[in-house]
Symmetry: C2
Subunit: 434 residues, 2 copies
């Protein structure tokens, strides 16, 4: 029997994860720079990563992270990246608050066909209320957003089942293109959506593209326990990650699901040196390039409170958790309290990894830490967040991955073709299949 | 001075345009068959076509044309086709009735970046009321749809101008990623849309992707005269096409536009033989493969009336023009009356080219007809509708195009890189540019 394998995603931000990463010597960057994005995707595929993952947002501002201020739309970008790659999964974020289930079902089904079964959908509810202003509507509150998301995902899944797998007959001899008996009308009438169907795309190669969820709130975890294949999460400590992991997996039983049907993958910022001192010096160099005037907006946005008026070398003042972005804000406030961080330390943390695990050290040390989380049952894998591109990713790919492989923790080569196969997940049967 | 050049589009329907085309010996087909779609796009690019063009729809039924019953979503497909091509324009249909201006602006800007300035947006208002059932809303009436479209297009254009062309500074020395002074907030509050902006994609390489319009109704023509770069139209006769062409170009003056700023491109179904008899025999072969039971739904749908109860060899009964699909229905009824067509002849016509010009003959004859329309001022080019793939397209590319080139009517090679450049259209200046 093969040992359980860990899963690796490349969290692809065009200018890297550290806010100053793009300024490093030799850095390639740009969330609209296709050759660069193709290159880093190929590096991840050569290292046998499960997937590349694109975050998304529906607003921007001049003070946004350079990876996010302007970027290609995820579905068009992934369709382009699907060409020239053969195995790596392609996961994109799309909102259930500012989309239409019919459109979402179509684009992910289409990407799944184009890529031969490599599509993943990161379901988000869009936390920032300012997004509403681009769509002329009111921003639903947190709980309503998750109710909407729940219905939205079930409608999208049902639309993917509009056609049975063998509906596309294409028999030129007989002159039969499709089998109308294998088409099913959904006729969904729910609380938030009415969608008749059928979808005008045949059933995706994966049956259903992989469903990813990234919210850590209580309703977010319920949604994940009920319907996600993968969970991304921000965890800074092994103990916290283990508690989150156990809690979420325990929620699955009531939905009749096995814990193995969900891969929990915390984000991991990586920066590797030949010695730990070298890696730490690189981090120091990044931090010295970070202008606090640039980092404050990122911190304020993730706290939900403007803290720029307080002593930068003093502790975080007593501020409330933001209602709008509860889990992000809670994570940072908890970290600041438990580690007695100053505002400057928080600025550095947010500028680097936004509260995610930071793996800064030698390849051996990084592999050890990944192995420790995996063996402790705190993670099924990691969503790798290179400080910049391409070097920290290349270092991870060529130095850390071989160690993980030699320890039997990570595949030497792809065993399947689809993202579901990489993740060890079953292809959902069509509900009408006999 | 170079002679005025005609423009060619490939109207890409995955199973070809004739309803029975996919059944022909040697046919490749499938609106979800990527290698096939890549192949025919490359044939068009080798022949120096201006663009490939994808129609779209938001519903399906088992009786739909085999090209339309299931198909890849146009933006994801074009992003994939952008890879592996370098010059050919990439135009997709997207609805202003069932979309959001912010999303539409993003995906076309993204495609434009990915393709190096080759994106085109065919603006449609979605005529079929049944589309509403996939979005849980009421279908606006014809005039309201065009009012919505008008505002929608202006919002999308303004979103494309969110950033000045040189806003993306990316100066690593100075640590400046963007220039916030070059970002502009739209803050649109109109009758149908409220969109704050800015867009989170920088200004597209073309400034604005090419705007295409295909509605022939009065409000459709006004929209085109005001804001389209290209018009697709269904015209069966030179006289009718000339009247449409002159009428539409005359409408442009009141919007301060020059007639050269709009290319009118009727659809042209093509089927080429070494002799005219051979081409006609091919059409006959296609028609003999067409089961009336399959063709009736296509005819009924385009008439807006079920005529399957009438004598198939008798004349079209006295039926009203459909309110829902006015221009399509009017075109067919007018053709039936003026040419005394039987229902069988109408079935054959709809199964082949749906009322578009049919060019069936030798390469010389087809080139003559194209030249005649062009010289008469009835067309600035054609949207080529091959009966099936790849042969009728290959015949056009290798036999008709060289004749057009030898007559100085069509480019020998691409002169520019962007779709606007192929079409001879100016790149819109940013409104704040000095």
């Amino acid at each position: 029997m093969t040992r359980k394998q860990l899963h690796l995603g490349l969290f692809l931000q065009g200018a890297g994860h550290h806010v100053a990463g793009w300024q490093m010597p030799g850095a390639t960057y740009g969330s609209e720079n296709l050759p660069h994005l193709q290159n880093v995707t190929r590096i991840a595929e050569e290292a046998k990563f499960d997937m590349v993952f694109l975050a998304d947002g529906l607003t921007t501002s001049p003070t946004a992270h350079p990876s996010m201020v302007a970027r290609l739309e995820p579905l068009t970008l992934l369709s382009a990246l699907a060409m020239g790659t053969r195995h790596i999964g392609l996961a994109a974020t799309a909102s259930t608050t500012y989309g239409e289930p019919f459109h979402t079902a179509r684009v992910f089904a289409s990407l799944d066909h184009l890529s031969g079964g490599r599509a993943g959908w990161n379901v988000v509810t869009t936390s920032y209320a300012r997004s509403a202003a681009n769509f002329g509507k009111a921003h639903p509150d947190h709980d309503a957003r998750y109710e909407i998301a729940d219905e939205y995902v079930s409608v999208v899944r049902a639309l993917w089942d509009s056609w049975e797998d063998d509906a596309y007959v294409q028999d030129a001899e007989e002159g039969r293109y499709i089998d109308p008996a294998k088409m099913h009308v959904l006729d969904h009438k729910g609380r938030y959506f009415e969608v008749k169907g059928p979808l005008n795309v045949t059933r995706p190669p994966q049956g259903h593209p992989v469903i990813i969820q990234a919210g850590s709130s209580d309703p977010g975890q319920e949604l994940a326990a009920r319907s996600a294949d993968v969970v991304f999460t921000a965890q800074a400590t092994l103990e916290g990650a283990k508690a989150f992991y156990d809690g979420l997996k325990a929620r699955m039983a009531k939905y009749g699901r096995n814990p193995d049907e969900l891969a929990i993958m915390p984000g991991a910022f990586v920066l590797i040196g030949d010695t730990r001192a070298e890696a730490e010096a690189l981090l120091e160099q990044l931090q010295s390039r970070t202008d606090p005037a640039e980092a404050y907006p990122l911190l304020n946005e993730r706290l939900g409170t403007d803290v720029s008026g307080y002593d930068i070398d003093g502790p975080l003042p007593d501020i409330p958790v933001s209602e709008e972005i509860r889990s992000r804000s809670e994570l940072l406030i908890r970290l600041a309290r438990s580690r007695n961080l100053t505002i400057r330390q928080l600025l550095n943390m947010v500028g680097a990894a936004r509260g995610h695990l930071m793996l800064v050290g030698t390849a051996e040390e990084v592999a050890d830490e990944i192995g420790a989380w995996f063996e402790a049952g705190a993670a099924d894998g990691f969503n790798i967040m290179p400080a910049w591109f391409p070097k920290p990713l290349e270092d991870f790919a060529t130095k850390v991955v071989p160690i993980l492989q030699s320890r039997g923790l990570f595949r030497e080569d792809y065993q399947g073709r689809t993202l579901r196969e990489h993740l060890g997940l079953k292809r959902p049967r069509h509900p009408r299949a006999t």
